[in-house]
Symmetry: C2
DNA sequence: AAGTGGTCTAGACCACGGC
DNA sequence: CCGTGGTCTAGACCACTTT
């Protein structure tokens, strides 16, 4: 079940917090240690995690309290489908085009391959509850995807496919977000008026060992999609160490 | 200097990491304990932080290694000035208007005060390297700011003022981001063409004890400002505890 | 087998908040 | 003043990687 004690008591503490109101105090740490039969270090490790994730709030000299529930999940490297499900929509998808192109200078630089390299290019209309939400164009080096037919991406998550068929583990990604307006083609595809406000997302995803797996350019409808982010406090009161600024 | 040992050795470890190449291993933890004269728990606390922030990577049974440098800092609750400095711009500001208004239904709901409550309203043009970057309109309950003159916000950070003059500690905030286009007035103020792409930010900031401190509505030029975010991998391999999902 | 990071303990003292 | 969270120690054993 739980490999480690702190994982186990983490769950027990969450159960306990769930039966308290927001703002109510948990029992003192030393008491919880006795209840759970663990040392204070181990107990604190579990509480540390929960406090860092925003479920509990500690106040020195006073106690540990149940935090106000989080409003949003932070941005993470999730697929369109996961993102939509989290937002309460039913995701679907329609492939607009699929083929192989040569990278050229700009895409080559983005994907860290030579300009002559061949890329898979798949353009998809993304729908939420049956209504258009975004146009997504994905580029990925063909050499990573030996034997992949171009229409195979209709039904499967690209990340799942990479992982299960090619054994590539997705590491982390970098995403830039800009405001833009839809052009003629985009407006028609998304069924919105010309020059509607929209997000332009550009995402580069790498494997655990640092290779670029994909470059994705997406246009999201501004009237249906917005970003909500929870912002942590500016500076953890204790003065941050300055040495790291050189890194 | 450093209130705690782990903060001190955190800095020493960063210095050490800075003199190594990306991918090189740090000395073993037990060795570092001797060098720094601390217990293993304390040493690990410093390394834990640095690993969590992405500067170091641990591999069990193998060692601790210098990580690939981060490309971006995550979104955080920073002021315009801090944000611009981090991006390498020189921030400045010009007050467009300042006064007191009554909240009304919409703003009252945002700030969790009655519709009759009085609000400070300050509208500012924000500049980066002397060029227009954003229009920011701030609302804050007048009752929080007893004795504040309306022109006092020109030179000071609002957060600093809250903290130092009123003893209010900024907790966390929620921000929504939408794409939009500039209207006539905004275009003129920002000196951009009519209907230029722009970000609309709406931010609600609370104190540590949960009161709403401010509601800020900002229009950022899309041609000068963009968001870069580092996206963590979809799921931390180790299965997360499921008990917390009920909260 | 040796060396590394990962978890855990029992107990001490410090710093802060509230009575 | 007492109770709370915050930091720290010395030492033990486990799990994994490398040789």
């Amino acid at each position: 079940m739980h490999r480690h004690k702190y994982q186990h008591i983490r769950g027990r503490i969450m159960d306990m917090a769930g039966s308290l109101e927001v703002g109510e105090a948990l029992p003192p740490e030393r008491g919880l240690c006795e209840v759970f039969g663990v040392s204070r270090v181990t107990l604190r490790r579990a509480v540390d995690e929960l406090a860092r994730e925003g479920y509990l709030v500690r106040r020195q000299g006073s106690g540990t309290f149940v935090a106000r529930p989080k409003i949003t999940q932070p941005l993470t490297l999730s697929s369109f489908s996961e993102d939509m499900r989290r937002r309460g929509f039913m995701p679907s998808s329609r492939t607009l085009s699929a083929g192989t192109v040569s990278a050229g200078a700009r895409l080559g630089r983005r994907l860290e391959v030579s300009p002559e390299a061949e890329l898979l290019e798949v353009s998809r209309l993304r729908l939420a509850d049956g209504e258009s939400m975004a146009i997504e164009t994905l580029y990925s080096p063909r050499e990573l995807l030996t034997g992949l037919a171009e229409d195979e991406l209709t039904d499967f998550s690209f990340y799942d496919l990479l992982q299960k068929r090619y054994g590539v583990v997705v590491g982390s990604g970098v995403q830039t977000i800009e405001p833009t307006v839809t052009n003629g083609e985009e407006s028609e595809t998304l069924a919105v008026p010309l020059h509607s406000p929209a997000f332009l997302f550009e995402r580069t995803t790498r494997s655990e060992d640092g290779r670029v797996l994909e470059f994705v350019r997406s246009i999201y409808r501004g009237d249906r999609y917005r970003i909500t982010a929870e912002l942590p406090p500016p500076e953890p009161k204790a003065g941050r160490d300055r040495a790291m600024e050189g890194v």
